[in-house]
């Protein structure tokens, strides 16, 4: 049978093919990626879009966690100070209710409680990075201002709203408790009871001082309870952080499954492609060296 006498195109095709295989294998080894352009694996390339998005989002959630952690911790330590000074005020109240005290001593105690009142006011107006943390969502202005026309001696200029921050897909965390709920809640009004104690001390009425102290104690207990909100939030954040870090690892291993290359396989492919290419070249070198003419003398 007559065969195609010109096999040069076939040889060239073979060389190009093995060359291409070698290039592909080399690219996979050097980039560590199986999918370098969408056509390498369209489905994987499309899934990578979602994967990279989730991955960047997870990074952002971690960043959000770090950003709000400072605010939550500031609030928590502020409340710790509030609790501490309230404790002092209660001691002063107990002291003032003692009937043996002179009027001037009672006035002195009243002055101390006034000092505590202004400390609590300052603490309630604590800001973190320009945010008044007990102002609800009206965070740009100090929430509490001294106002003698109010029975509590302060006016609340904040609002009763809260902010939530996303810290995971479908998971968000409330980052503030409004000042009116924290310091003037239904379970105990810190501002009002401090003002009550001051008024009672100034009047010198020990019964009134005792009642006011009891009220303050209720308010103290209430603030202590409310403070748990921040402690819980910080705990939640810590747990969430661990979760996000695990998720990040999962996502990057998913990314590797999608577009990464199994390096040991890629290395094997490369050496195989090299051998095939060399074989094609060697075959090309052997081809067509002889024709019938070589044997005709």
């Amino acid at each position: 049978m007559r065969v195609n006498p010109n096999i040069t195109p076939d040889i060239l095709t073979a060389i190009w093919q093995t060359q291409e295989q070698e290039n592909t294998a080399l690219q996979q080894v050097s980039t560590g990626r199986r999918v370098n352009v969408p056509s390498d694996d369209p489905a994987a390339a499309a899934a990578l879009v979602g994967n990279l998005n989730s991955s960047a989002q997870t990074d952002q959630y971690l960043q959000n966690t770090t950003s709000i952690e400072g605010q939550l911790q500031t609030a928590d330590s502020t409340l710790s100070s509030v609790v501490e000074v309230l404790n002092q005020a209660i001691s002063l109240g107990v002291q003032g209710a003692n009937g043996t005290l002179s009027a001037s001593d009672q006035q002195g105690i009243a002055q101390q409680v006034i000092g505590i009142q202004s400390q609590v006011l300052q603490l309630a107006n604590t800001s973190y990075q320009g945010i008044y943390i007990f102002a609800g969502t009206a965070t740009t202005t100090p929430p509490f201002v001294a106002d003698s026309s109010q029975p509590s001696g302060v006016a609340y200029n904040g609002n009763s709203n809260t902010n939530t921050v996303e810290v995971g897909t479908g998971r968000s965390i409330t980052v503030n408790m409004p000042g009116d709920q924290m310091f003037q809640g239904s379970g105990g009004d810190v501002m009002n009871s401090l003002q009550g104690l001051i008024t009672a001390l100034q009047s010198g009425d020990t019964t009134a001082i005792g009642n006011a102290t009891t009220q303050l104690r209720t308010a103290y207990n209430f603030v202590t309870q409310q403070r748990v909100f921040y402690g819980n939030a910080v705990d939640q954040l810590n747990a969430n952080q661990t979760f996000l870090q695990t998720e990040k690892v999962n996502l990057s291993s998913q990314e590797n499954d999608l577009v990464g290359v199994d390096l040991s396989k890629a290395a094997t492919d490369l050496s195989q492609a090299e051998i095939t290419h060399q074989a094609a070249l060697a075959a090309a070198a052997k081809v067509s060296q002889n024709t019938l003419l070589d044997y005709l003398k």
């Binding site: 998005n53 965070t139 921050v165 996303e166």
Partner: protein, 457 residues
């Protein structure tokens, strides 16, 4: 009665035939590497015998003709396969440029969209922060730039493909003109009883070049090849060629006309077909996906943004602008320039971040197209990758198939040096033998003359 003279004459014919055969062999060897050359064989026939006294004597050999060995059916198959392969190859070349726009997953529309939503999310941790608001605007601008650039790059590819159309039409016209000329020559030679092999070789070459450019169908007639376009418009009939025309419509898009009829949409193969396919089907499809994403995203995001209140206490305005329909991605822009105008608040207070949740939710909510913005972009990547992969597979298959056909062609028409060497020896020996016959007849003639001399002497 057979005599020395007729033997001598017969040998001279042999010498001539063998010389001619050697010349054919020599020509084959000379053209062994000429593209498109089909090997030729000398067709030798016996002369009409003479009958004398009831005995039939052979009357020697004549070279009847020199015939080119070709398989016209195979030529047609090669032409068809060339059309398909060139079409796929042209598509692949263009699609590789397109997929280049979607290859880097760390930048472009998808990545910028992620970055934009992330900076919004960051803003939710401190909604009154001006630097963070500024960062949101910067990322929004980056997203807009990505939409614009991707759209522009796709349009640029479309434009450069469009430029190729008229060039291809010029090439097609030049080829059909040449083919028509050769057709006429072949017909003329055939009328005169001449072998048109060499001309046919050239013509076949030109037809294969034409097949690389566009769809053609070829019919062999007694006047040579009749070549028509895919939809049957004539390109070459006998010695006449019919030029195609390229003309731009009002949008600058080049259309192809055959005798006044717009045949653009019927051209599917050849490099012109591939170019038109990408220009008219693939790129409008991808651009449409991108435009739909841009305008639906802008609308959905604006709705979310407008439900909030900005830092100055005003209701949120439109955040992005994107004219719906074609060009939505190209016109996609950020309307807001003042960081205070980002409507993060849901309760009217400056420090509220409630509306940011509404805005970030857009990222994962379904657009009217049925997919979320991220998924919509992933769909574009898939679509482009898939089309490229298909074109690649088609082109590879076409190449493999063409290689096989070319092998077949070579086995029919290719010059084999071994074969020609064998022929060389065969005709050389035949020539030598014929020459020997002449010298033998010469000796015999001398003997006969000698006989006469001795009789006379």
């Amino acid at each position: 009665m057979p005599g020395l003279t007729s033997t001598m004459l017969m040998s001279v014919q042999s010498l001539l035939a063998d010389q001619a055969a050697l010349q054919v062999t020599s020509n084959n060897i000379a053209n062994a590497n000429t593209p498109g050359y089909t090997r030729e064989v000398p067709v030798l026939t016996e002369n009409t015998p003479t009958v004398e006294n009831g005995i039939t004597y052979g009357a020697g050999v004549t070279l009847e003709k020199v015939q080119s060995i070709r398989d016209q059916l195979l030529d047609l198959r090669i032409s068809e396969e060339t059309q398909q392969q060139s079409g796929a190859q042209a598509q692949l070349t263009a699609l590789n440029q397109v997929q280049g726009l979607f290859s880097d997953s760390t930048q472009g529309v998808g990545a910028d969209m992620t970055a934009f939503f992330n900076s919004l999310s960051q803003l939710s941790t401190n909604p009154t922060s001006i630097p963070q608001r500024q960062a949101v605007l910067t990322d929004a601008q980056n997203l807009a730039t990505s939409f614009n650039q991707t759209s522009t790059s796709l349009s640029n590819i479309q434009t450069s493909l469009n430029l190729n159309v008229s060039q291809s039409v010029d090439q097609i016209n030049s080829l059909t003109q040449q083919i028509a000329k050769l057709n006429a020559q072949v017909a003329q030679m055939q009328q005169l009883g001449q072998e048109p092999g060499v001309i046919q070789d050239q013509e076949t070459q030109l037809v294969q070049q034409l097949s690389q450019l566009t769809d053609v169908s070829i019919i062999q007639t007694k006047d040579g090849q009749t070549i028509t376009t895919a939809n049957g418009s004539a390109l070459v009939v006998g010695g006449q060629s019919f030029a195609l025309q390229a003309a731009a419509d009002s949008t600058g898009t080049e259309h192809v006309f055959s005798q006044g009829q717009d045949i653009t949409s019927s051209i599917k193969n050849g490099s012109l077909g591939g170019i038109l396919q990408v220009r008219d089907q693939v790129l409008p499809g991808v651009l449409n996906q991108l435009d739909t994403l841009a305008s639906q995203f802008a609308t959905a995001f604006n709705t979310a943004h407008e439900s909030g209140t900005d830092l100055n206490g005003n209701a949120g305005q439109a955040f992005f602008s994107s004219a719906p329909g074609a060009g939505a991605a190209a016109s996609f822009s950020v309307v807001i320039t003042d960081p205070n105008a980002i409507a993060a608040s849901s309760d009217g207070s400056a420090g509220s971040n409630g509306n940011i949740t509404q805005m970030t939710a857009v990222q994962s909510q379904e657009l009217p197209s049925g997919a979320s913005p991220t998924d919509s972009f992933a769909n574009i990547v898939f679509n482009v990758g898939n089309l490229t992969q298909q074109a690649q597979a088609e082109s590879d298959a076409g190449t493999a198939s063409l290689n096989q056909l070319n092998d077949q062609w070579g086995s029919v028409s290719g010059v084999s040096i071994d074969e020609e060497s064998t022929n060389l020896i065969t005709y050389q020996r035949a020539f030598e033998a014929a020459a020997r016959v002449i010298s033998t007849v010469d000796e015999l003639t001398q003997t006969v003359i000698g006989m006469g001399a001795s009789a006379a002497g």
